[in-house]
Symmetry: C2
Subunit: 172 residues, 2 copies
Amino acid sequence: MKKDIKNYIRDIPNFPKEGIIFKDITPVLKDPIVFSFAVNEISSYFTNKGVNKVVSMEARGFIFGSVISYILKCGFIPVRKKGKLPYKTISIEYELEYGKDILEIHEDAIENGDNVLIVDDVLATGGTAKAVASLVEKCGGKVVGMGFLVELTFLNPRKKLEGYDIYSLVKY
Amino acid sequence: MKKDIKNYIRDIPNFPKEGIIFKDITPVLKDPIVFSFAVNEISSYFTNKGVNKVVSMEARGFIFGSVISYILKCGFIPVRKKGKLPYKTISIEYELEYGKDILEIHEDAIENGDNVLIVDDVLATGGTAKAVASLVEKCGGKVVGMGFLVELTFLNPRKKLEGYDIYSLVKY
């Protein structure tokens, strides 16, 4: 099943801008057997590692992170773009594949000693994952690991994320 | 437990703009027992109603919709703001509580005869839910029901949504 997942990921050339080949993962979501296989696999890699919170970034990250938090019986913490979270926030500016951005987390989302799993759909340059890890650590949490559906190894994301336990289900 | 959920929903005055009292549901997500209770309750209302796809709108809708699709063993279909979905889309313009907007769905997301459950975190005026239902129907799907964590009954959303089977876990 694992290698078949690539049959459910399609290339979209020139999205979101000229020259980028975007990995569209929506066919994975559409098939309940493939989708549940994917989230079960990612979850099972992090079972018994003491995770008590799953943190994901909007918007596609929410789709995987919330299900994985449900499977692992953890709290779910959303990280969002600037101005989207309603309560008091802690923020971080970071460089991403296509420019610069600011991410925010609620200031009461992470407590000292929390063991956090960061989840997103695609690990590309690693810039977003690194920013989210820094946010979590700024709040007193420990990043136990990072889980992804897809890893774009040709962008070398692990170079930016040394020391973290990273699991990705499929690699390009 | 059901009525206790209100203890996990906080009012944020003047968000996203002056005069609006926003229902912040992130404390529900943060507590794994409360979050799993909520998604299990919504799912169980729609069990055995023939649902084969769950459709949710970004971004908070994804958090509930994806878990509910996992529980109900259905496909998950994201509806997004204009320009966010990478593949060919069908779109709809609609009025929402704070202005106007365009929502899109992938043109191959819904097939003729699909039985769709629409899921979002908060049912407010019903404008967004109505737009998503119209999109699903335009694609040949049947809207079997709509599930929400919170319903703001004082905004009369059901007036806009007559004929649909609506379940909301907590009401204000």
